[in-house]
Amino acid sequence: MANHDIDLTVRRGTVHALCGENGAGKSTLMKILYGMQKPDEGTITLDGEQAALGTPADAIARGIGMVHQHFMLADNLSVLENVVLGAEKLHGIGAKARAKIMEISDAYGLAIRPDVLVEDLGVADRQRVEILKVLYRGARTLILDEPTAVLVPQEVDALFDNLRELKSEGLTVIFISHKLGEVLSVADDITVIRRGTTVASVEPSKTTPKQLAELMVGSELPSPETRESTVTDTPMLGVEDLRLSATDSDGVVRTVLDGITFTIHKGEVLGVAGVEGNGQAELVEAIMGTRSLDGGTVTLDGQDLSAASTRKRREGGIGYVPEDRHRHALLLEAPLWENRILGHVTERPNSKGRLLDLAAARKDTERIVAEYDVRTPGIEVTAASLSGGNQQKLIVGREMSHHPKLLIAAHPTRGVDVGAQAQIWEQIRAARREGLAVLLISADLDELIGLSDTLRVMYRGRLVADADPATITPEELGSAMTGAASGHLTAEDADTREGGDRE
Amino acid sequence: MRRVTRFAAAASASALLALTATACGQSFAEANRASHAGVGLAFDIGGRDDHSFNEAAARGTENARKKLGVNVKMLTAKNGETEADREQRLASFAEAGYNPVIGVGFAYSRSIENVAKDFPETSFGVVDAVPQGKNVDAMVFAEHEGSYLAGVAAALKSKNHKVGFIGGVNNALIQKFQAGFEQGVRDTDPKTKVTSQYLYPNNDKGFNDPAAAKAKAGGMLDSGIDVIYSAAGQSGAGAIEAISKRKGAWAIGVDSDQYQQPGLAKYKDCILTSVVKNVDVAVFDLIKSVEDGKPLTGVHAYDMKKKGVTLATSGGFIKDIQPQIDAARQKIVEGKVKVKETP
């Protein structure tokens, strides 16, 4: 997507936030700044001097460093080795390099342990290693691409402390995000991008999240709040004592799911919170039937589905919005109408008997595109050419078109712009009103709290805590996600624990 | 629907194109009538320089070139050929006016039969096969008889009383070599053990894979076998190479006198003798008959009696056992010994 008329001024020694919807042009701008893409016209000035950034090497030489959203670390190497990899010329690979690393780590409070293997590090630690890598190469200006997407609230706070430390040492940070609360709490200046152009520069102290969001979308702010309850007494999905173990790459058998029991009623949204990798993905796969269970039962609308195939389960009324839509929900190089058939090939209008009904499938794709506001020039384009939000709208539209009894939505608005996010939330709310049961898994705690009727927290393959979304705060939920709290979470409980932590 | 029509259109268009072209077109032969151009020689797998079978045929045409002044053109088979490829090769010769057209090897059996029908004016010859046809000269050899003599020599020369046979491909022709060899060994020294192995069960690659023969011979040598007879076309060179590296071991060559082959000169001191198939004589006979205007047709068997198969004496390694070999030959010629064609 092309950018035009971008005006951005970043002051030295500040945290400058760049925010906009997904697809607004943040990534392109970032690539230009980091020398990965050349601008057609316009100039970049660094310290009053015009700079031509042809390659990332140019950018690094000019003191610009970038921390990518997806970490670029070698798991089986130590932190030290990862840092010096590719920069061996600077300080060698031995004691000098180690001293330099410790110096940087201490200066900015990064708490780096140079000899630990990267594979043993948590997400937040890895991120700090990435930051250190950039600093080690002499960066004075850091670009951070959506750094908080992978962190829990406590880790976000720690990251922000690091950023403030960097700032106080005179470094400049460009912080890319579409999470408004974070932007407002850490940034000194904010530039908003919409449809490839800068629409506003604002000061955080004079801006509310609502105003900021409106600038980003160009319209009113959506909210995930759902209040009037539609929960009924009729159980729709029953999951009883689900157990699952898996063999990891070292041949060790680990328990992935243990004693998972819950019921979702008609008209109820059950939210599952948890740090990624605690069994949420496996829970979804177990319910979808793509993993065979070691024990336990899955019932849908009174029907035992424990032994049914994935296709039987889908035909039985499970709609599925998977976490990784590129891997699990789309054929990226196939046209939209073929993607509309995917997962529902045995159902009308996609097929009649054993034959496909291409005309009907195409027509119905047109309908989904119109009804669910999928922004595309036509249904013959490949799924890969749509933006994330539009892909997701197509997926939600497809799943809802088959009138499911249960909708499984895993991170439904991840990597989706604010506009699409609002529409997807609205779809989930509508589904709930119509009496669907919804299993919602998300890392976005606002989304979880806002949409769910019941909340559960998953930790190391078990449902360890539950909470009432009406009273819980993201911070309280966050501490349960790290295993620090269990049982029924109430506001008071969380408060006392937090008080205790402070002492 | 759109796609169905597009598909159908494309398919029928190409079909139409193909069939109209074939139905009304002219054939190459009709367009290119040629007069006498010389001798066409189509080789089996391995090509002219296989140091054995094909080379023997080539020698026959060389003689004809020198003595009769005829022109010669040679073409070679590829691995994995089909009947159609062979027919095309033979037809190309006939179309261009080559006469006679000779296929070396029984692989040409069926193709000669088919092509000979289309070119009744041309004489065809084939080595090692007996196809039907009024204008076909079938040249067959008593490989089993020659191999019998090789067996006699091997039994007499083996110190360990262990001899081996390596066949290129397990087919009817090579089995004749195996049968004769085994019988010759048995009749001479019943105590001597014969090990017979093939490189490939049914892939023509066996005549074109010296590396496989080398490995096979190496295995035999390791088990104490000290005389190895290989009937494997070009692959045989691999076996000879392996044998040359083992002191005291003998190789028996096939088809041509391999002691005299320039390509094998490095190893000639281990080549005890060779079962020579006088393909060159047969080929020369056919060319001469065509030149004389009385082309040979029908089956011509080149057996021991007619000296179609002989045992080479180059190198003089079998001089000491020549009397026994001559005696064995005599018995075959007189019919006192009947050599079997299958093992």
Binding site: R311, V345, L355 | R110, N202
Partner: protein, 374 residues
């Protein structure tokens, strides 16, 4: 909206044409360099090939040769559409043809019945042989590439064992072959000039149509393509990937079973030591050439046969025998590379275009809104 869709299809057609044209141009250039490097005149070579190829006997020859090539390519393509690499088509068709020939020589059913029986036997044997690889892949995780190569070797040995005098073969001079099929199992042929064209060309065309129809018009075909496009997505959509692997291997083997039939029922009428081998490998090249598309592979098979035919002519005219093999390899490489380049370019172009269209739409919408408020 309508016009946009149309412009996208137009682009698609242009892109579809760009790839083969690019490939042909590149192949011409590289082949010419090969000719020049070997000290030959490329233009004369092309002229010889074109001239020789246009005669009717060449064309009959080419079509007849292309029929087994095409069937072999279909068998390979079924696997390719599933991301399976069936290298074993060679062993499958030979074993299948051998079994059909052995049965066909032993019994004599009236007319068409015998032909149908033999074709069914061949397809079953081919499917059985490839099915082994499918089952091993799903049950034990062995790569089908390895197993099918091994099964090729085993098939050759099995045939070698039975194709002996006194077992299933009879000796005919220096050839060994199964008993001749009775007249009733001779397939019809088209009386073209000067030689007939195999009637089996009809079966090949039919097989191509069935391939296309099943893949593009049935639920099963959709599932198969989905697995080929993205295994995890197919699994999540409810396809049993393991079952699909076995089924598609069986289908691939069944198609491979047809490869030997034009020769067996139309020309040799027995399976002998001179039965053509290696067509299974040629099929891989042709499936790549034709991009697994039924019409594309038909052109690919004809092109390959054309090169076989005219290449031998080049040898006759004094060119090196190996040069045609080089040209065939160059063409396959050029096609594969050209298609990949064009595919990537197309994907990028489409993404850009979608972005531009949407931006334009958004701008007009905004203007409309602005006017409305004004």
């Amino acid at each position: 909206m309508k016009t946009l869709t149309r412009s996208f299809t137009k682009d698609k057609v242009l892109l579809a044409l760009a790839a083969p044209l690019l490939a042909i141009a590149a192949a011409f250039v590289i082949s010419s360099l090969v000719f020049l490097a070997s000290g030959e005149n490329p233009l004369r070579a092309y002229w010889i090939m074109a001239d020789y190829g246009h005669y009717s006997d060449s064309q009959v020859w080419i079509i007849n040769k292309a029929v087994p090539y095409y069937l072999s390519a279909l068998a390979v393509a079924i696997g390719f559409r599933m991301n399976l690499f069936n290298i074993g088509v060679d062993g499958q068709y030979r074993l299948a043809a051998f079994a059909a020939a052995a049965v066909g020589g032993a019994i004599a059913l009236p007319g068409a019945l015998q032909i149908i029986l033999l074709i069914v036997i061949a397809m079953l044997v081919g499917a059985l042989w490839s099915g082994i690889a499918g089952v091993l892949k799903t049950s034990r995780g062995v790569s089908e590439v390895i197993t099918t190569i091994m099964l090729n070797a085993i098939a050759a040995s099995v045939i070698g064992y039975f194709l002996q005098d006194g077992r299933l073969a009879i000796k005919d001079g220096n050839l060994l072959h199964t008993r001749f099929l009775p007249e009733s199992s001779h397939f019809f042929s088209f009386p073209t000039h000067p030689k007939p064209v195999y009637g089996f060309v009809v079966i090949a065309a039919l097989a191509g149509f069935v391939y296309w129809f099943v893949l593009n018009r049935t639920r099963f075909g959709f599932d198969l393509r989905a697995v080929g496009a993205s295994e995890p997505a197919a699994e999540a959509s409810g396809v049993s990937v393991k079952r699909m692997v076995v089924i598609s291997m069986l289908l691939s083997g069944a198609a491979a079973g047809l490869v030997g039939m034009p020769t067996l029922l139309g020309e040799s009428f027995n399976y002998g030591t001179d039965f053509p081998a290696g067509i299974g490998f040629t099929g891989i090249a042709i499936a790549l050439l034709g991009r697994n598309h039924p019409v594309g592979m038909a052109f690919g098979a004809l092109l390959w046969a054309f090169l076989d035919r005219t290449g031998s002519r080049l040898e006759f005219e004094g060119y090196a025998q190996e040069i045609v093999g080089v040209i065939q390899g160059v063409i396959v490489l050029c096609v594969v590379i050209a298609y990949e380049i064009v595919r990537r370019y197309g994907l990028r172009a489409q993404q850009r275009k979608v972005g531009e269209e949407l931006a334009a739409q958004a701008r007009t919408n905004e203007n409309d809104k602005a006017e409305a408020t004004a």
